[in-house]
Symmetry: C2
Subunit: 356 residues, 2 copies
Amino acid sequence: MKSTHTPTMKDVAARAGVSLGTVSKVINHIPVGEKNREKVNLAIKELGYKVNTYARGLKTQETKMIALIVPDTTNPFYARFTQYVEKKLYEKGYKLILCCANGIPEKEIGYLNLASQNKADGIIALTYTDVSSFIPAQIPIVSFDRYFENHPVPLVASDNFQGGFQGTKKLWELGCRRPVFIRFRSKFSSETDKRLEGYVAACKELNLPSDCLDLTDPPDIDASLKAYLEDHKDSRGKLTLDGIFANTDHQAYHAMKILNQMGYRIPEDVQILGFDGIRKYGIDDSALYVSSMCQPVEDLAYLCVEILLKKKEGGVVPSLSLLPVTYEYGGTTRQSNTPMQAYGASNEQQCKHLGI
Amino acid sequence: MKSTHTPTMKDVAARAGVSLGTVSKVINHIPVGEKNREKVNLAIKELGYKVNTYARGLKTQETKMIALIVPDTTNPFYARFTQYVEKKLYEKGYKLILCCANGIPEKEIGYLNLASQNKADGIIALTYTDVSSFIPAQIPIVSFDRYFENHPVPLVASDNFQGGFQGTKKLWELGCRRPVFIRFRSKFSSETDKRLEGYVAACKELNLPSDCLDLTDPPDIDASLKAYLEDHKDSRGKLTLDGIFANTDHQAYHAMKILNQMGYRIPEDVQILGFDGIRKYGIDDSALYVSSMCQPVEDLAYLCVEILLKKKEGGVVPSLSLLPVTYEYGGTTRQSNTPMQAYGASNEQQCKHLGI
DNA sequence: TTTTAAATATGAAACGTTTCATTTATTTGT
DNA sequence: ACAAATAAATGAAACGTTTCATATTTAAAA
């Protein structure tokens, strides 16, 4: 009695009265005599046959799965990135294996190996820790924002340098003359470090001082900000700075909070510009509400997928792809009636930044 | 020349000078002579051998993957749920296949079938559309919040009835005497509908009117709220209601916004209580800031995983598991110095709600 | 018709594991 | 030192596909 037995291709073949090969062809949409195709399809339906992915994978060596490594889905930016990656993969017939690394290096490394174990066809890595030396060779992998030393991994990112540069120019255009850049100093070199470089480059071009504050780790982020602001008051209590360019929207939000607490008006006393554009993509009105240099999350996600799949097919892909960021007004900068200008860094600076 | 050939168990066996079976045992941590184990491990290292998941899966019929279907990872609640599911699965040696259904029924159905195709060992479904009739039989599946008609799918959810009940009592304790419940009327029956039932039950017990406003779809959510409030003013412009119990934190936030716009004070004029507890789990201070009946997201996620895996092992699992929600002060209700009481619905009401 | 060419269908082999009935080596008891 | 008992290692078979060389059918040409 084989009642409790998942039907296999052999069962289908028997029922339809054809050979195994014919069934296989029908399943894989390879042309086959019309009569047979119908017989096979009928048998499949009657038996409720489902292809066994393992048996197939064993032959084809394809899983149709892509692993995505992110630090934390709870972060709106990553959540959105994940969502778009999944969407694109789905359209292309792939499934997403999600890894929330949460800063656990072994976890990141484990998922990096998924492809070598035939559990995934490729990896999109937005790693947090330094896993350069664990990048498996010979497998399709794309990195978002992180630069892996000594490993030729295609990198996709926003044009952080341009973002930093243009944001600074925009602040200047809106009247800011004493900006300060605030950020965490990241432990590992990341594409996002270029934001500061862009800021510095623009300040130089504008003959502005390029102050920068390195925030300390949470939970003291507010404290270090406050201390910095107290240090930058004149005798009348007026701030000697008039603009804050924050490395992320989140940091911008903190700055906003502190300034409010200290009684300064935004944007009248101090303008604030963030980076990421979380608000634009926020699911509800409660999300961050700051002016921001906005990353094209959707396009970034799509590009990662496209490059990864192309690489998987053996195609030649760019080792670096930078997508432009855009200025989005969010209430913490002065209103301006002139549209955003497409500021560009000078050729010289651009070259220096690209290292060419 | 076999230089460009992924090493297989056979290669390892040859190199170590042992049989295939021995290699298999070493890999699966089945006791084996010490000398041989060392030889095999050495060979594995030297060759860089990785087990081929497909070949293994073909034999074992296990994928060590679980699919999670959520409507949208961009929603902080789902994002957090996803994160915890992934964490628990990882601990148990499973990987997560993520489906952001985004309201696309075919997508949900496709992922529901993943298990029958041997791509996943089980499914955790937080579906948006009505997919009752597509639930595959015989495969491990757990539902979060959604009730599938005619299908004995284990359901995990917050105790929404108790939450509605206790929240109402809490509002009353804080002085509210004219509450109104606001919500979207959901298209498909969901466990969350019980929040309203709990509210109604509590109102009855407290001899309060149990007003309820069904919000219209976005983007008119604000409009319908505003209209309702305008309708509930007395001649002097004072509101005839003094408390809003919102079905979700998000709706509570909208209520907060409108009330602010209309010049009412919170919580002095109107108290607001939300449901979900997003703020408590928010990654930054910009998240919703309302008093809320807080769902134990972490425990809910863990429970889903545990029940799923138990079911997969053939264990007997509860068909319904409800976890308690807790009141969290968030600024939109009056301060109270009495700790939250563990209010319970009366026995009679409890029975009615459970249908027993 | 018969021959030839084109189109289809066939089924054995292979993919890389796990499993299990056997065989071989080791230990124990006398 | 020998038999019996126990432990360890072996390798063929099986998992359910895909593939490809071969066989069969069908259609076209002579």
